[in-house]
């Protein structure tokens, strides 16, 4: 296959795909970079010329910048912790032979199929509503005052909603990893005198480390850009304004495209910092 001829033919055939991918990525990136250096206010005079580093300075010096970074990290971190912890638990449960295994597995995966907007609305109106929500009823049943979830513990509520959506993903990946564990290893550990918890700690968890790494990386990438869940629940109020949401507000609510674009560039930098950071910590799990 690897003749000169077939290689150039392969290049020729891959070229359109590569071209489309490049354009798809480079054009928006280029435009974001371009606008981030412009003073562009669509409702207040349009493109008002070159702005230098003004947008960048204004974006980070704004009083809402650091809080937005903080809420972004809290949401991402919280969801990661919850989904990985419960994902491992659920995966180990689902790995046990039981009646109706197939149906239970489909049910567990189901939340992943629900659109973010829909699931956030369902949570907001059916569970977290302080008068009619299921949780309010539950609280009242035990004689407690219902929690006004989205304004009293807004970050936690959003973490809860997003975790519910992403738990199936974590569970699914971790379940396949658990299923690939050689049962001889567990039996050997059993013969070596390791009780259940130690078998989990010394055998199962190290075996899962690679899958956990993958879950961590993929989820981080997607969670940094969550938007719909915030938009339909708190609308960015009560300290739930993430970096993504802040950019949205700058562009659409303040009608300042230049400022928003500068925020977008910061978001790219933040995502890359987090990615490098994660790769450093967990990347060594991916080789071998």
């Amino acid at each position: 296959m690897a003749t000169q001829h077939s290689r150039s033919a392969a290049r020729l055939m891959m070229a359109p795909a590569v071209f489309v991918l490049l354009v798809w990525m480079l054009v928006p990136l280029g435009m974001t970079l371009w606008f981030s250096f412009r003073q562009y206010l669509p409702l207040r005079g349009g493109d008002l010329g070159f702005a230098g580093w003004d947008n960048y300075v204004r974006f980070v010096t704004s009083s809402s910048f650091w809080p937005s970074i903080y809420s972004t990290l809290i949401i991402v971190g919280g969801v990661l912790v919850i989904t990985i912890f419960f994902g491992i638990l659920l995966a180990m449960l689902l790995d046990q032979p039981m009646f109706g295994q197939g149906i239970v597995r489909i049910l567990v995966i189901a939340p992943f199929f629900v659109m973010p907007t829909v699931s956030a609305l369902v949570w907001k109106n059916m569970f977290m509503d302080p008068t009619n929500g299921l949780l309010a009823h539950l609280w009242r049943f035990f004689g407690a005052d219902p929690v006004v979830w989205l304004s009293d513990v807004p970050l936690f509520s959003i973490v809860l909603i997003v975790s519910w959506q992403w738990l199936p993903f974590a569970t699914l990946i971790l379940l396949t990893a658990i299923q690939s564990l050689d049962s001889d290893q567990l039996e050997a550990a059993e013969m070596d005198g390791a009780p259940h918890l130690k078998r989990f700690w010394y055998i199962i968890l190290p075996h899962l480390s690679r899958a956990i790494t993958i879950v961590l990386l993929i989820q981080t990438i997607f969670l940094l850009s969550i938007f719909a869940e915030i938009f339909v629940t708190t609308g960015g109020a009560f300290g739930t304004r993430t970096l993504t949401y802040l950019i949205f507000q700058r562009v659409l609510e303040s009608q300042n495209i230049g400022l928003g674009s500068a925020g977008g560039v910061y978001a790219i930098i933040l995502a890359n910092i987090v990615a490098i950071f994660l790769m450093r910590i967990v990347g060594k799990n991916l080789d071998t």
Partner: protein, 334 residues
């Protein structure tokens, strides 16, 4: 000490009886081999002794103590798995140390035992590698190392050599035999390879469909197989088994003659036939002889450099005192 007694041990998976009630005693320090064709229940029997499977009924005793309901770790047995079952994320040192760590042994004693095991098994240079970086034979030795540091009452081997290539297998066979004579610990070894059984065992247990067909030393089994199954299973190449007129002449339903007990004679002889395939091993030659009125070709052992060719007619005479006779039920006629 490692005297293991099985009393009426039975194993059922649901309705299927894998091992019908069975009695067996394994003396302290013995090298016992469970041998049988695949699916005969030999691995299941080993796992019952290990405690990885629960017995359906019956009793297992280790050194006289009832062990039937003890968890595997409490039985004082160590097992070497067919897949080695090494922990891939741990170094060789940590793999070997694992059972001691679980037992909460102090570090100095752990190091001493690791060193001793590594010396004995030629693993000293590999202690800091991971199993993935080792060859099959080295992994096998790590698995054995992990077993010996526990100083168990008995070792259980579940087809430990079946993943190795032929040359390594012979080497490891010797090493395990050597280890046994050095440690003088009870070893139970499961294999489907009768050569391994013959070369290593003090006592062979031949199993078929969960039943013990015969228990005895390798030579006992070779000289006096109790039935047709054992006769056909033990010995390489296989014993020639024949029924019909040839057997009736000896007053039996079936007779068996080992290839090495058939002499090639100039003329006459009990059997005569055409030489088919011949396997030259250098020291020996095995001929497949197509005898008239017999479906299966007979196997004959001859010297290494016998000048017989494909299609030659030869005459065979069995050594009179080496003919095994069996009745209709396949049992040996004394």
């Amino acid at each position: 000490m490692g005297r293991i007694t099985l009393e009426k041990v039975q194993k059922k998976f649901g309705e299927t009886e894998v091992i019908p009630p069975l009695d067996l005693t394994i003396e302290d320090g013995e090298f016992v081999v469970f041998v049988g064709p695949s699916g005969c229940g030999k691995s299941t029997l080993l796992r019952l002794i290990a405690g990885l499977e629960d017995v359906s009924s019956g009793e297992i005793r280790i050194d006289g103590q009832p062990a039937t309901d003890l968890p595997p770790a409490k039985r004082g047995l160590a097992m070497v798995f067919q897949s080695y079952a090494l922990y891939p994320h741990m170094t060789v040192r940590k793999n070997i140390a694992f059972p001691m760590k679980m037992a909460g042994m102090d570090q100095a004693e752990q190091d001493r035992r690791i060193k001793k095991a590594a010396d004995a098994l030629n693993l000293t240079d590999y202690l800091d590698r991971r199993p993935g970086q080792l060859s099959g034979g080295q992994r096998q030795r790590v698995a054995i190392g992990r077993a010996i540091v526990r100083e168990p009452a008995a070792f259980l081997f579940d087809e430990p050599l079946s993943n190795l290539d032929a040359a390594l297998r012979v080497g490891m066979r010797l090493e395990i035999s050597e280890l046994h004579s050095r440690l003088e610990t009870t070893m139970i070894y499961v294999t489907h390879d009768q050569v391994e059984a013959m070369t290593m065992a003090d006592k062979i247990v031949v199993l078929r469909a969960g039943n013990i067909e015969q228990v005895g030393s390798p030579l006992e089994l070779y000289r006096e197989p109790r039935n047709v199954f054992v006769a056909g299973f033990i010995g390489s190449p296989k014993m020639n088994l024949m029924s019909g007129p040839a057997a009736q002449a000896h007053g039996a339903h079936t007779i068996g003659i080992r290839p090495e007990h058939l002499d090639v004679v100039e003329s006459g002889g009990t059997f005569s036939g055409k030489v088919g395939v011949s396997e030259h091993l250098g020291s020996d030659t095995f001929f497949h002889v197509h005898v008239d009125a017999m479906e299966e070709p007979m196997t004959v052992r001859a010297g290494g450099e016998v000048g017989l060719r494909h299609g030659d007619m030869i005459h065979l005479e069995p050594q009179a005192d080496k003919i095994h006779r069996f009745d209709e039920k396949g049992l040996r006629i004394a």
